[in-house]
């Protein structure tokens, strides 16, 4: 569409008084053209077209920054910069003046997270060719392909006109461009969205350093897990420090050099969910880095924790699509979690604002950039104040990357980056008509057209003397009606470049059909030619008879303020509306399985309060205690699952290297895992979350209490000792991984022993080198190695080993390796052939954490027997039964009962297999594992003998807090059903209304982990 700006060139002779005013204001001087030739380094083909016109915009509502509004304002720009913004002043000579009465001017938006102008990332290579152990990057760069801090976006940035146009149409003037590839992604660049030359668009070359947990295009094995990515980041911080402190004399490493160079920049981290945001924050804070976090939109679910973490955010405005849930059989596959998030996600910004978290908005993640403004309005509708919304699109992103004093506001000297709208930008009918980038106009909608609205008498062939009314809210937004006898017909009207086009469809017999007419303006009206309903060419004219008096109905439809259900912790089925607190409870007349010398007390009483067991005995009384009648019921210590993989995000295995002692399960806790609640319903109060078993030395464990609803950090048991997973057998040899996996050392039992000896030999040397180092000039300090640090902890008995094991030979081998290095193996887990070496285990002092009766799943369990636990127990080894399985964990009492069936272990001792004995193996039996005064009030109330298949948990307490009870569960089921029904109805109504994106529901399956998973990737 062609376009002409109708500027009025004014040459006013200023009066004396005006002159004085202008001088007083100090404006005039600055408007005297300074003759300076701007220079460029690049030749221009043809005649250079550098213009330095002064533009004056008058009568607009000017938003000079996100919080300042000036009515009837004036904006003066020149040479790409703002000369003046504020109340009307004298208009400078030779200026081009635009009257923007009724229109608004805003600073243009800044998108702090884009891939604008970046080349496409290279294709991912063929992954079916077996593991790639080392980096294939050429040159003295990082050992790991996922670390690319040396990448600099500004060196490859180029203008992409098509994309720039999309961004400009959506109101953006400036963006941060980055390449989303790797864990350390190098630097991002701040650029403007103008058209050529590229040299004039880059504002800040190195505006930020970027990171993520995603290894991107790297084909290298390490890291295979998110905890590996965290470890890699942590090690990189240390390596970079070492490099700076003298390591650069030992090696040349351009990646570490770049890492250090990037330290002074804003640090930007991309995350996929709120838990990743917490992880990124924690990883950074360890090294005193406060990341700006690119969030995902679910941060409201952990707002208080994120506020405490203290990071700034970049938030996407992508809200979940509606789902087609009209079929109840589809609807059942949609979880309350999805429904609640659908309902609440648009409130994410307002909820974070209320929490006091600072954020900027990005269009990243939207299908089309054009959705940005509608989504921004939606966020405002959901309670975000307008000024904060504007701030998040202008000032905040600018402030993140150090350009807040040059852009994001309209003040003297700032970049002339602004948008013009035909009204308040938050009104849904308002459009962006122009976007000026560095003083250059990009017209989105031509508003500078003559006003042709009015009433016309039209003559067009068979139509004679009919009344045509052209109306519309704006001169550039027209529609019409045609009166034909008593019928009124809609007419589509467009008027552009002085050409009027009319199109309508008539229904009366003679004139039935489509008519289209084109014409030009005459003194009286319009004249032209067209096609009638029979496609015959006709001449036509229209004579203006009066002004259009149609009143445009104001949209009075009340916009309802959205409402949403209550946030719960976690924000899904069975979540808590309020965090529960410790209760004072007196269990009366109950059978108490003390696990202490008192044995099983019948008709006993237990008092808990302040999170501890206060009294155990008979005929107890306590004021203010909630009395629980325990008649016919049993009270036991909480079940402790010594081997679990629940509540871990994404992946429990870092399978890349034979030794990965640097990775930590505790970095990946998933406090939202529904299995936490399910296991509470089975009486589980604690679990050791173990790394998987795909390498001889795996990662560090997390010991958690199943505090449903709490944050990841609050799940961890304070003061619990450190543990690490080792593994033996088929998994570490990759026996069942297929023929592509024949490379990683070790592939045999023989190699496994060598891995251990080598790892601990290196750890010894490492420790010695740390101890003997004397800092003095010219020496290279030792490099802190997280992998070896952990092994040193083991040798110094500060970290305990839980070793996955089956076959007796390997079990003995590992005990002998430990003996030779002066430490002990703490626990053999699975240990299905433990019964063959029970005496050796007893002598070594190692415990056993076994399955009750598993076998048959692989060759190395061919001689597993269900009597294993009984023999080990009889031999004096501490025996626990574990689950390694989210399902089995919630009936570990039944598994303990199998020790009675297979081997006649006494019932009292059998129950200890899942309570006191795992506590002993974890060295927390001074705090948990029995019903003893002073221990944590982690207790379970059962309706029957706890080893019976017929027993059911009535209530589970952790630290005296009731996290599960059958009564609350029944109540919650009702609430879940009601809440589901409410949101499903709302969603169905929304889908029926139309407009938004609608998807078919899908059935989410979350991965359940087992340590025997042969997880390569």
């Amino acid at each position: 569409m062609g376009f002409t700006l109708k500027f009025n060139i004014i040459a006013v002779q200023p009066t004396i008084s005006m002159k004085i005013n202008a001088i007083i204001l100090g404006i005039f001087v600055s408007l005297i053209p300074i003759v300076s030739v701007s220079q460029t380094t690049f030749p221009v083909n043809g005649i250079p077209d550098k213009r330095s016109s002064v533009y004056v915009f008058t009568n607009a509502t000017l938003h000079s920054d996100y919080q300042t509004v000036v009515e009837n304002a004036m904006l003066i720009i020149k040479n790409g910069k703002v000369e003046y913004a504020g109340a009307a002043i004298e208009i400078p000579k030779n200026a081009i003046v635009r009257n923007l009465a009724g229109q608004h001017i805003y600073p243009s938006f800044i998108d702090p997270y884009t891939e604008y102008g970046m080349p496409e990332s290279g294709p991912k290579g063929d992954k079916n060719k077996g593991p790639q152990i080392t980096s294939k990057t050429r040159g003295a760069y990082s050992w790991n392909e996922a670390l690319k801090p040396e990448f600099e976006a500004h060196t490859v940035f180029d203008i992409n006109s098509e994309k720039a146009n999309e961004f400009r149409k959506a109101g953006f003037g400036t963006v941060l461009s980055l390449r989303r590839d790797g864990i350390a992604r190098g630097t991002a660049t701040m650029v403007m969205l103008g058209e050529g030359p590229v040299h004039e668009q880059v504002i800040t070359e190195r505006a930020a350093a970027c990171y993520s947990f995603d290894k991107g295009s790297s084909q290298q094995e390490y890291p295979t897990s998110e905890m590996g990515a965290i470890a890699l980041l942590r090690q990189s911080f240390l390596d970079a420090d070492w490099y700076q402190a003298g390591g650069n004399k030992a090696e040349t490493n351009f990646s570490l050099e770049a890492w250090n160079k990037n330290k002074s920049l804003p640090q930007l981290f991309e995350t996929n969910d709120k838990l990743q945001a917490l992880r990124a924050s924690k990883t950074g804070s360890e090294f005193k880095v406060n990341y700006i976090i690119k969030g995902s939109g679910d941060e409201y679910q952990r707002a208080a924790d994120l506020k405490a973490a203290g990071n700034k955010f970049i938030l996407p405005l992508k809200f979940p699509a509606s789902l087609n849930v009209s079929d109840p059989y589809d609807a059942i596959n949609v979880s309350l979690e999805e429904l609640k998030h659908w309902e609440m996600a648009p409130a994410n910004p307002s909820l974070l604002y209320k929490e006091g978290i600072e954020f900027a908005f990005t269009s990243y993640g939207l299908k089309e950039v054009s959705e940005f403004l509608p989504q921004l309005r939606k966020a405002v509708l959901y309670g975000l104040p307008k000024d904060i919304a504007l701030k998040a699109c202008t000032y905040t992103p600018a402030s993140y990357f150090g350009v807040a004093t040059t852009t994001a506001a309209l003040k003297k000297g700032y970049a002339a980056n602004f948008i013009i709208t035909n009204g308040d930008i938050f009104k849904s009918s308002v459009i962006i008509t122009e976007n000026w980038v560095a003083g250059k106009p990009y017209i989105i909608k031509n508003t500078q057209v003559a006003d042709i609205r009015g009433i016309y008498k039209i003559n067009a062939g068979k139509l004679a003397g009919n009344i045509l009314t052209i109306t519309g809210g704006q001169p550039y937004d027209l529609k019409g009606t045609l009166k034909e006898d008593t019928n009124s017909t809609k007419v589509s009207v467009s008027y552009s470049e002085n050409i009027l086009q009319l199109r309508f469809e008539l229904r009366t017999a003679a004139n039935k059909g489509v008519w289209s007419l084109s014409g030009y303006a005459t003194a009286k009206g319009f004249k032209g030619t067209g096609l009638n309903n029979e496609s015959a060419s006709i001449a036509w004219d229209a004579t203006r008879t009066g002004a259009d008096t149609t009143t445009i109905p104001v949209d009075t439809a009340k916009i309802e303020t959205p409402e949403w259900g209550q946030l719960t912790y976690p924000n899904k089925a069975y979540g808590f509306k309020q965090f529960p607190v410790a209760e004072t409870v007196l269990f009366k007349n109950v059978t108490i399985w003390t696990n202490e010398t008192e044995g099983i007390i019948t008709h006993g009483d237990v008092l808990i309060s302040e999170g501890k067991i206060q009294q155990v005995g008979k005929n107890l009384a306590a004021r203010n205690a909630k009395i629980v009648d325990g008649t016919g019921k049993h009270l036991t210590a909480g079940i402790i699952d010594e081997h679990s993989h629940i509540a871990v995000s994404n992946n429990v295995n870092e399978c890349s290297h034979a030794v990965t002692s640097e990775v930590r399960i505790g970095d990946l806790l998933d406090c939202d895992d529904i299995n936490i609640y399910r296991q509470l319903s089975g009486g589980v109060t604690m679990a050791q979350l173990l790394h998987g078993s795909c390498n001889p030395i795996g990662g560090q464990s997390a010991i958690i209490k199943l505090r449903w609803g709490q944050s990841p950090e609050n799940l961890k048991m304070k003061g619990a000792p450190g543990f690490i997973k080792f593994a033996l057998g088929e998994n570490v040899k990759q026996s069942n991984w297929g023929d592509d996996f024949r490379i990683r050392y070790p592939q045999t039992r023989m190699g496994v022993e060598q891995v251990y000896i080598d790892a601990f030999t290196r750890a010894k040397e490492y420790e010695a080198s740390l101890k003997s180092y004397q800092p003095k000039a010219g020496t290279i300090p030792p490099r802190i190695d997280l992998r070896l640090e952990t092994l040193v902890e083991i040798m110094n008995k500060k970290r305990n080993i839980t070793c996955h094991s089956y076959q007796q030979g390997e079990i003995t081998m590992l005990m002998r390796v430990a003996d030779s290095l002066g430490f002990k193996i703490n626990t053999f887990t699975h240990i299905l052939e433990g019964y063959k070496v029970a005496d050796k285990m007893k002598a070594h002092g190692v415990g056993a954490s076994s399955f009750s009766d598993w076998w048959g799943y692989k060759y190395e369990v061919i001689e597993a027997i269900p009597y294993n636990g009984a023999i080990l127990h009889q031999s004096g080894v501490t025996v626990a039964y574990n689950s390694d399985d989210a399902e089995m964990a919630r009936r570990l009492n039944q598994e303990a009962a199998k020790a009675v069936k297979y081997g006649n272990v006494s019932e009292e001792e059998a129950l200890k297999f899942v309570t006191l004995n795992p506590a002993k193996l974890l060295h927390i039996d001074d705090k948990v594992g029995s019903i003893k005064v002073g221990k944590d009030a982690d207790v379970v109330l059962w309706n029957d003998h706890p080893l019976s298949v017929y027993a059911k948990v009535l209530a589970t307490y952790i630290d005296g807090i009731c996290y599960y009870s059958v009564e609350r569960d029944a109540q919650l089921q009702k609430e879940i059903a009601a809440e589901r029904a409410r949101i499903i109805k709302k969603m169905t109504d929304e889908v029926a209304k139309g407009g938004g994106e609608v998807k078919q529901p899908s059935f989410r399956i979350n991965k359940l982990h087992h340590c025997m998973d042969d997880e390569a990737h």
Binding site: S681, E887, R891, A897, S1002
Partner: protein
């Protein structure tokens, strides 16, 4: 010295011969007196008299009410204080088709290809599996041996878990064909195909099934001998009622589609899995479709569901008036069948109902209820004698098992290893 060596040899003999020897038919007439008999149909007899002759139950009676003619028996055994149950029947297992999951050479349960109605599991059933004796020592005496994989996995048979060879072990051959109904939900999971692909593949699979059954029906109705097609030939029985179609699916839409499909084709259907069956009780009842529940030791299939849903599912089906059996899939895992069923009794079912769900109803579903499934006169003499409740792990202790009149060896390789190492450490066996 010599004596000493002989003693050692004798002691260690059973340890070396780890495979259990199938027992011979006992032609003696035996009478068991005084136990609590759990009949399998819901009834119990507190002071029972159980007479066995020629491998069949000759007498099942209440000794308190009826005078028992002891002279009609060669042996009378007093088992008062014990509990007697019918031998448990394990549905939908891969017993004998799989020895070690991770060792491919021992996996014989999944034939290549999608449509395999002609393959027969019974000929692959390994009577010499080391796993089977560990299963029957917990009370499971019969198993349905089921092929897996593809759309139509093949034909299953019922075997007695004691036999010299498969011909000896087979109890009912080729009684069912197994169909895995295509998934009708769109999965979002780490392993899932793109959503459009899933929809497309499901559509194609359902078409393939319709096509195959239309052809099979036409083939079966032809007079004379049509050009032989092994697939279609094997499916004849579905259309004359001699074979049942076991449809494996869980999601409600799949259940509805499968029931309609079987009705359309005039096929006797058994639903296997049926996690969502509680939503479809009216439909299942109206169409007389029994359900094989795959245990109770499962997680709820949806986050929002009652955490106890898998435990309550048998009770919900009972309330809905559905005929159901409780199974435990896999092979070595089948030894936990009593406990999978037992868990259901903590959530609404009675102990006799869970017994029915693992004996009589299982037999009815397999069409072997004329000869087994309950302690009833005339049926094959298959029973368990336990010192305690077999459905509770803390009391399950099978002291004797009789299968088709033969007392079977309850020893197994795990027990032998137990003895071997108790002996090594000088521990007394309890």
């Amino acid at each position: 010295m010599k004596k000493y060596i002989i003693a050692i040899l004798t002691l260690s003999l059973p340890l070396i011969a780890s495979a259990q020897k199938p027992s011979h038919q006992n032609n003696k007439r035996i009478l068991y007196m005084g136990a609590t008999a759990h009949i399998g149909n819901g009834e119990t007899i507190a002071n029972s008299a159980i007479g066995i002759e020629n491998g069949k139950f000759k007498l099942i009676a209440n000794a308190t009410l009826i005078r028992i003619d002891r002279s009609a028996y060669d042996t009378v055994i007093d088992i008062s204080g014990k509990h007697v149950y019918p031998g448990l029947i394990a549905l939908n297992t891969s017993i004998g088709l799989n020895e070690i999951e991770a060792v491919r050479a021992t996996n014989d349960y999944n034939e290549t290809g999608n449509l395999n109605p002609s393959v027969r599991s019974v000929i692959a059933y390994n009577t010499d599996s080391k796993v089977t004796p560990t299963v029957r020592s917990n009370g499971i005496l019969y198993a349905q041996v089921v092929p897996q994989g593809g759309l139509i996995s093949g034909q299953s048979s019922v075997v007695s878990l004691d036999g010299w060879n498969y011909e000896d072990a087979v109890y009912k051959a080729d009684g069912a064909i197994h169909l895995n109904w295509p998934s009708m939900r769109i999965y979002k999971a780490w392993w899932a195909e793109p959503e459009e692909k899933q929809v497309q593949h499901t559509g194609e699979s359902i078409q393939r099934i319709h096509h195959l059954f239309a052809d099979a029906k036409a083939y079966a109705s032809q007079s004379g001998q049509p050009e032989k097609n092994l697939h279609l030939e094997s499916m004849r029985g579905l259309f004359n009622g001699t074979k049942k179609l076991f449809v494996h699916c869980d999601y409600i839409k799949e259940i509805i589609a499968a029931v309609a499909f079987c009705k359309e084709n005039g096929i006797k259907m058994v639903l296997v899995g049926g996690t969502d069956a509680w939503m479809a009780t009216e439909l299942l009842k109206a169409n007389d479709v029994p359900v094989v529940l795959m245990g109770t030791h499962n997680l709820p299939s949806r986050d929002d569901e009652d955490v106890d849903m898998p435990y309550k599912l048998p009770f919900l089906l009972k309330q809905g008036g559905i005929k159901f059996a409780i199974a435990a899939g896999g092979f070595w895992q089948v030894r936990n069948l009593p406990f999978q069923a037992g868990t259901g009794a903590g959530y609404g079912l009675t102990k006799e109902e869970i017994l029915t769900a693992t004996t009589l109803t299982a037999a009815e579903i397999l069409d072997i209820d004329k000869t087994t499934g309950t302690l009833q006169e005339g049926k094959d003499a298959s029973m368990l004698i336990s010192s305690g409740d077999i459905f509770d792990m803390k009391s399950n202790s099978i002291e004797k098992a009789i299968l088709n009149g033969r007392e079977i060896d309850l020893d197994n390789v795990q027990n032998q290893l137990y003895n071997k190492f108790m002996d090594k450490y000088g521990f007394d066996r309890p």
